[in-house]
Subunit: 109 residues, 2 copies
DNA sequence: TTTATATATGTATAAATGCTCATATGTAGG
DNA sequence: CCTACATATGAGCATTTATACATATATAAA
């Protein structure tokens, strides 16, 4: 390549590890089921069976996704009798979610 | 399920279509190559060969990803001689990207 | 202790996704 | 017109991922 621009500097990107962390973060939201779960948890703590209703998929699938969200440190849980209640672990999550929805609204879709 | 919480209302989620749009949006950023491309485009318009340098993958792979970004209305391009220059189509993108990086910084990682 | 309910987990499967390789298209220069 | 360079595209392949099904675990109640 003969250098397509007169300018010959390339912006330093963030460190690779940081980029990979960000990618992991976006991946969390990049799935309908997980996003539905997180949106539902935005306001209330919910037990698994409620989440199943909201997500509209099998209990098994929900549990699998909840595990992922636990591993990613996105949700926390507390047990109470036979139930397990999940809630968001971090208020930043709300902001990140909100951001994209704002964007979509402003685009008028 | 016998109703795990006393509260019996479930938050209305956004409409399904809106959720799906958001998922599509997050998917765009949920890939290292695409995110690197977008980060590189944050400040400069760049031609494909420059993007190849930054992204660190084959020209073919970059072109494929650029096509996706075009289809998703994230980037625009202009041709100039043999080169094609790509740039971000929308300043909201920057905000959405910035958001996650802020989050990661604040978590002290 | 037996049974029912809530949740978790292992496994297999199907679909989506991103890459490479080969090749096509387009443009400029000789 | 022919060649070289920049970019785009099609096909095939390998990996990832989300789900369902079956089953395990845990807790409560009978």
């Amino acid at each position: 390549m003969e250098n397509c621009s007169g300018i010959n500097f390339i912006n330093k990107l963030p460190e690779r590890e940081m980029i990979l962390n960000a990618v992991e973060m976006y991946k969390i939201f990049a799935d309908e089921t997980r996003l539905r779960i997180l949106l539902a948890l935005l306001e209330n703590e919910l037990c698994v069976s409620k989440i199943v209703e909201v997500a509209g998929i099998s209990q098994s699938a929900v549990s699998h996704q909840l595990r992922i969200l636990k591993q990613m440190n996105i949700v926390k849980y507390r047990k109470q009798g036979k139930n397990v209640f999940y809630s968001l672990k971090d208020e930043h999550i709300e902001k990140i979610i909100g951001m994209v929805f704002e964007h979509l609204k402003e685009k008028g879709e």
